[in-house]
Symmetry: D2
Subunit: 334 residues, 4 copies
């Protein structure tokens, strides 16, 4: 029988609950020992609905339980580093939602703590587990496109966030494009050495007033010579748009969106199909399950996580460079 | 909180276990009280792996437990009718795998028993819950194709069964096309009044020697005037091929296969994508979950099941007519 | 320089003029010496607009001109056989529009006359030159699907003809399905030995009153064991629907419709594209050019035409069998 | 009857002959009076093969013939400006292949000459007549995507030119991207105000030694606020890759490549289709016909050409800015 682990969840907002339910329903033999959240209402009800016995407002209850082997850190970004460091000191393996932090130095502190404690840390870049992007990466690893020349990523959300959100999130390059920076590194198999970003406000003036943009394009130069092109929008009326293209010396891979069904209607006006899957909960549903399975598997079989703190760190560095490039109107070397 | 029910499973082969795991993982608040199987090895291990406490070799343990509200009958076809009738007599709601029986009269006995007992019976035509076919049916109900003129179904398996199997299954028209007959009725929204079938042996001579065919085409005439066209093959080298087309006075709907991913590779030879999902466990995975959810929902909310014994009966009648048509080389009226 | 031939056109209706313009614009070094039409108004204007010097009301002017090497017979069906025979007797090569005739015996007379005269005769089944169907046939010849098991053809017109037309055309099986019968033979690479047809009136009652149907399905049994399935409709609201599928032991080829462009629009309601090309003049435009080029090439290089009178004859035989099968409600052996 | 014009062609290389044949075969009632080429061998043979009576080595024979209403200037780029100016002075309408010149001042001299003479000048940006891009532009004009936010163009050739070519062509931004700059302006309906270009050598080192790049990406800022993203490669192994995407406030249009046929093969390994059309002669075949028809139509009906010298000029300005941006590594304002 497949082995499981004993898990504690810190932070029971939308993403923490998603992980909790995925573990209960899809990760055989793993057990959620604790859920803690300082603010969540009705935490006990949710816990009993999924069969979790212990809940608390204090994260220390989780990391102090000697049975807990791993913690999922799903609290707000500003608490990630602290919880990571303390959990590592208690010898817990860590799954940390992205971003680990918005400050490079603090991420390095986490990196040190994790190394010193000899625990594993996986960063929640779930898109790497998406069936489409995984397949693209595998084809590239098999040499199907030869040497990568151009990596293109289109990433558009169905609805913009509140302007208040972008004030604390670090802005589009740090809360949205950062996923694409990680994806670009993953697909290209190389690090970024140069960033040029262009941004503009076309959707919501309040976002502009909050000091951010809602439409952006970023050019990347990779160490292996490839060029990366990312375009982001806070609002695609047709839903979540998540596509990539990897062009190389021997071929090109295109990954299209997922659709809720394959039905196509032809009538006297046009040919129709339903819009793509609406947002990340639909599109990336399976990837959230697979990333947690992968994390558990790393612990059970003592393997290195597939998404490390270095991935979190390097994507943040690109995000900060993109922001700076946009602000200063020039290319930033990393 | 969503209400659930207390369930017993009779028959723990592949499909019984699939339903069991789907209930545990995806049907909130429902509980599997009993699993029984006369022959299954390691039944206890499987039960404990999914948290089911009671198991037995005797189906009477299941239907005699007063807490059990509904039974899933997943045993071999020749036991379905008997188990259905006895379960109905004990006041249990019934989910019965298809076919209910291969004999029309015996199905009518089940129908009577169910009616008399006032319990619900749902037949396991899971494909009606497929996201693609559901969407097609919904568009048709909304009038998007107007009046149906032609319903086409392509249904091909990736591998032929053993010749031994077709001797007991009733043959291709009763073990394979029968799904398509039900689907044709579902999509067209009308009953079949006439059947012409053509069959041939092109894949495996042993199937021919066993008195069956491995490649078939069936023309249906519906009461509403539409024509149905079904083609079946026991072996499509590219995997499971499950498509439909509904053509009418105001439009046409085509439903394509599902694919494991959207990645498309272009190289110096051609443009490629991966083959469709391999077989029914992949293609119809969600439909199995959704049919059980629907069954539970009918019981909890006292609604009529969406797939009734009449659906099982009428599809069997078409299957028997198709077989006769093939054998006699002429059109059979129903 | 590519050699051309000297051509006379008999019949300057829509299809005769199409061929005329195609020759002028696309068949280098061939020359149209004569155009004749008994009834066409403004024949002289059209001739001078394309640079043809001679026109006449009398077909004998064409076949008596010793410079004319080949004639295109594009007049009404009932004159085809007679013009073919006389042209053959004058030693002219013949391109004859389909059907050569609706009577089997008269086609055989043409066949004899052509053989005796040692001239070439090509029948105007232009769809064999369609880029999509050609490609499918080539893949099959290369063995890409292995042995053919099932050939499916969907063929739907955008608008029904007048009921008057079906009275003289021989009905749907002889004026419409006959193209599909030829295509089925072409794609399958085998002759048909058995036909079962089903027809119904769902579009225009006047067609029913004229003794015909407007919606039909035909099952074919081929000599090589494959099954053919054809569905026809006189009216597809979305335009001309011309698709085929060839399924075999080693694979399956699907040929989709052609579209006027590849633009796809996604908005807040759905994903759209334009309807397929409207009718045969758009869809089969290039095939008309290519069939005439092929005809000229056969004459210049003394090769056997790719579409012979046998193709015309055998497709007619299937058409007559289909009509009989529909009328008598039973399978017809050929 | 549609009116035509009397035309002279200056320059009978590949593109001049293409236009000549298109006029003969597809532009009714227009007449090619002269073809001139200083260097072309066998010019007389080609002329007589298409029925053109006069040919010369001297362009003055063309512009001095009082019957000639319009000239097509298809000679080498460095002669364009001079021939345009002299033709204008002789009162001839002008169709000039792109680029008009590589020098902004010389283009302005042409502009002045044309204005002073009151003749029409159309620049040969044929892609504007492509059925796919036209359809996209029309949808945008109809407001289907609302306000444009992001315009993306992928443009890749199947084979790199000789390194010698890029030395005289001005390099990738001036001989290749310039088409995309015009397309971006056309699709977006706005002028470019800022350019950032990134280029690299990944395909052929000789191109690098010749002072150019073979892989490039360009970010554009439009006056209407939209962002443009262009990526170019000199070598796509799968053929000619010409796609655009226009994303806006109310929707998104994607234009895919054209394929030679719609046949799709599924076998036990994958699902295949043929590669896209190989190069511009296949992909843009109809657009070359349609641009000349449009030019003739402008003259016959005294309308303004759809692609003016301003389009040629502004695209050149972007091209020069892109080259400078790549060389200096910074954003260039226009």
């Amino acid at each position: 029988m497949e082995k499981g682990i004993c898990i504690g969840i810190i932070g029971a907002g939308r993403i923490g609950r998603l992980h909790g339910e995925n573990i209960i329903n899809n990760v055989p033999n793993s057990d959620i020992r604790w859920v803690c959240d300082r603010y969540a209402e009705n935490l006990g009800d949710w816990c009993s609905s999924i069969g979790v016995k212990n809940h608390s407002k204090d994260y220390r209850d989780v990391i102090n339980d000697p049975d807990v082997e791993a913690v999922l850190i799903c609290s707000s970004t500003n608490t990630h580093a602290r919880f990571c460091i303390e959990a590592a000191q208690k010898g817990k393996h860590i799954f940390c939602e992205k971003p680990v932090d918005l400050d490079i130095e603090r991420i390095k502190l986490v990196e040190n703590a994790v190394e010193k404690a000899g625990v594993k840390l996986q960063v929640g870049f779930n898109r790497r587990y998406d069936h489409n992007f995984c397949r693209a990466r595998k084809l590239i690893e098999e040499g199907k496109i030869g040497r990568p020349h151009v990596i293109k990523i289109t990433s558009r959300d169905p609805e913009p966030p509140h302007a208040e959100y972008v004030k604390v999130s670090g802005g589009i390059f740090l809360d949205m494009s950062i996923h694409d920076f990680d994806m670009a590194r993953f697909i290209c198999g190389s690090e970024v050495k140069e960033v040029y970003a262009k941004g503009t406000v076309l959707i919501d003036e309040k976002i502009g007033k909050a000091g951010d943009v809602d439409t952006a394009a970023v050019l990347l130069a990779f160490e292996n010579g490839a060029i990366g092109i990312i375009d982001n929008s806070r609002k695609a009326v047709y839903g979540y748009d998540q596509r990539i293209e990897a062009f190389g010396s021997d071929g090109c891979i295109e990954v299209a969106n997922d659709f809720p069904n394959t039905a196509v209607l032809s009538n006297n006006e046009a040919v129709y199909r339903d819009k793509p899957k609406y947002f990340f909960l639909e599109r990336y549903r399976q990837s959230y399950i697979d990333e947690i399975k992968s994390f558990v598997n790393c612990i059970v079989n003592d393997k290195k996580p597939e998404v490390t703190i270095k991935d979190g760190l390097n994507s943040l560095i690109i995000g900060l460079a993109a922001k700076k490039s946009w602000q200063e109107g020039k290319c930033i070397k990393i």
